[in-house]
């Protein structure tokens, strides 16, 4: 498979804005000493205390699937053997830089979350999956791990640069020393994961939220956020030609307050390359809330946002993203290997006006749900949302008119 450049490159530089929770006081640096002087020593609640803390705070996975963390924790604790922990720092989505931001500025919040959970579970090993395409993150995490003195043993692994390298089963393959590609999951990894044992695998931000919750307590944790959703979330704000910005916002913040005013009134890709398109009318009526966004059919995913410039066309952008995603298939599953390039070609036909949308729809239905991982489904979600949200722009393209007036390429 030939490499296709990502329409949003993996950042070599990111801007991390101070925030109300995880990113408070980021200027104090990433060292363990600075971390301890801010938060004090890590207490280690037992499993039932930890579960009630996490349930009270309603922490959900921040890697994209938003699965309740307490459910996973309970499942991984219900086996007969000690579970493994996995901290997923792969961040193989180029449009996301929040895990990188945590690694660079707040690595000990991530490690405290895992250390407290390991203590509660009696887990002896915590594995860290690190991003092959972000060497500065690998260095920062290794430096942080070297500062720790925990009972749990930290093991680091550096993954591939591929888009699907961070998928949970691909991460478990990496841990097992096999190619860092997804395989079919017959059971949730919390039941049968690394070496067939229960494995609690979560995204770095999820672990950092758990860490902060244990360190500051339920009350201080819930001091930000809205009643139904305590706490904060990290967002990566992308705008072509500018350095990606990682911000932390309290749940319940209106999008109009989360996004810079100069970006208002535009078109937005919410949730990264497997995400969903929104226009300003949709976004302006919503708050940064995992629940509201899911209800509005605009899931936050891992919190990556791409705000297009006025003269950037969503049809062209989607075609570029799908071309990239097709080339990023791990090539293991026939329908994904064959179907995504066909889908990308059909969408390119719509973009140039060479073809109508029928073929895109047919191929989208053909690849959906037919792979070992959600890569085909995520790609189809993006394409469907383009047709739903920007129907007029799509229709114009089929008659060789770009409503946005974008000159090719993106």
């Amino acid at each position: 498979m030939n490499a296709v450049a990502s329409p949003i490159p993996v950042p070599v530089q990111i801007e991390v804005q101070p925030g109300p929770g995880l990113l408070a006081d980021v200027g104090s640096g990433p060292s363990l000493a600075a971390h301890r002087s801010r938060y004090g020593v890590l207490s280690t609640p037992d499993l039932s205390a930890l579960l009630s803390l996490i349930e009270g705070a309603g922490i959900r996975g921040r890697g994209g699937a938003a699965f309740p963390f307490a459910t996973k924790l309970r499942l991984s604790a219900s086996g007969r053997v000690r579970p493994y922990l996995v901290i997923n720092l792969s961040e193989s989505e180029p449009a996301s830089a929040k895990d990188a931001a945590l690694a660079l500025t707040r690595p000990h919040l991530v490690l405290d979350g895992a250390a407290a959970t390991a203590a509660a579970l009696g887990a002896k090993e915590a594995h860290l999956a690190l991003p092959g395409k972000r060497p500065e993150v690998v260095t920062a995490v290794r430096r942080a791990v070297a500062e720790r003195e925990d009972r749990v043993r930290w093991v680091t692994h550096v993954g591939d640069a591929r888009f699907v390298a961070g998928q949970s089963r691909a991460v478990l393959e990496l841990l097992a020393g096999r190619p860092n590609k997804p395989v079919t999951a017959w059971d949730p990894e919390a039941k049968s994961g690394h070496k067939g044992r229960p494995t609690l695998l979560s995204n770095a931000e999820t672990w950092a939220q758990v860490g902060r919750l244990v360190l500051v307590g339920a009350q201080a944790y819930a001091a930000t956020g809205s009643g139904g959703e305590p706490g904060t979330t990290l967002l990566t704000l992308n705008r072509t030609g500018t350095v990606p910005r990682v911000i932390e916002v309290a749940f319940g913040t209106p999008w109009s307050a989360a996004l810079p005013p100069a970006w208002h009134g535009g078109r937005y890709l919410i949730g990264g390359f497997h995400g969903v398109w929104a226009d300003w009318t949709m976004l302006d009526s919503l708050r940064v809330s995992a629940n509201d966004m899911r209800a509005a059919n605009l899931p936050l995913g891992a919190g990556a946002v791409w705000a297009l410039h006025e003269d950037q066309c969503p049809v062209v952008a989607t075609s570029e993203v799908v071309g990239y995603l097709a080339a990023e298939s791990s090539g293991r599953c026939g329908p994904c290997l064959n179907g995504l390039p066909a889908l990308a070609a059909a969408l390119h036909g719509v973009r140039t006006g060479a073809a109508g949308p029928t073929e895109v729809g047919r191929l989208a239905r053909l690849v959906a749900g037919r792979g070992a991982c959600a890569h085909p489904d995520g790609t189809v979600r993006l394409v469907d949302s383009l047709f739903r949200t920007f129907a007029a722009e799509v229709h114009a393209h089929t008659s060789r008119v770009c409503l946005v007036g974008q000159r090719e390429p993106v």
Binding site: T184, C333, G334, C336, R370, G371
Partner: protein
């Protein structure tokens, strides 16, 4: 063994090489896509259960599974 058990054929995609032996055994429930990979068209009914088991047995890649949800 309640009568409400739903049986479903699932493909282990990375192992499936797509020549469609399964389709030959059970065309009623297994179509082929333009590239020769199986499309499971519905849940396995009681009448088709023996043939579904046969399709699982015949798959040269052991890439087909019969799952059931209570």
């Amino acid at each position: 063994m309640s009568r409400r058990r739903v049986h479903q054929l699932k493909v282990d995609w990375p192992n499936c090489t797509g020549r469609g032996v399964c389709h030959g055994v059970l065309p009623e429930l297994i179509d082929l896509d333009p590239w020769g990979y199986p499309i499971i068209t519905g849940p396995v009914t009681e009448e088709l259960l023996p043939l579904a088991r046969e399709a699982v047995r015949m798959c040269p890649q052991l890439a087909l599974r019969l799952t059931s949800t209570p």
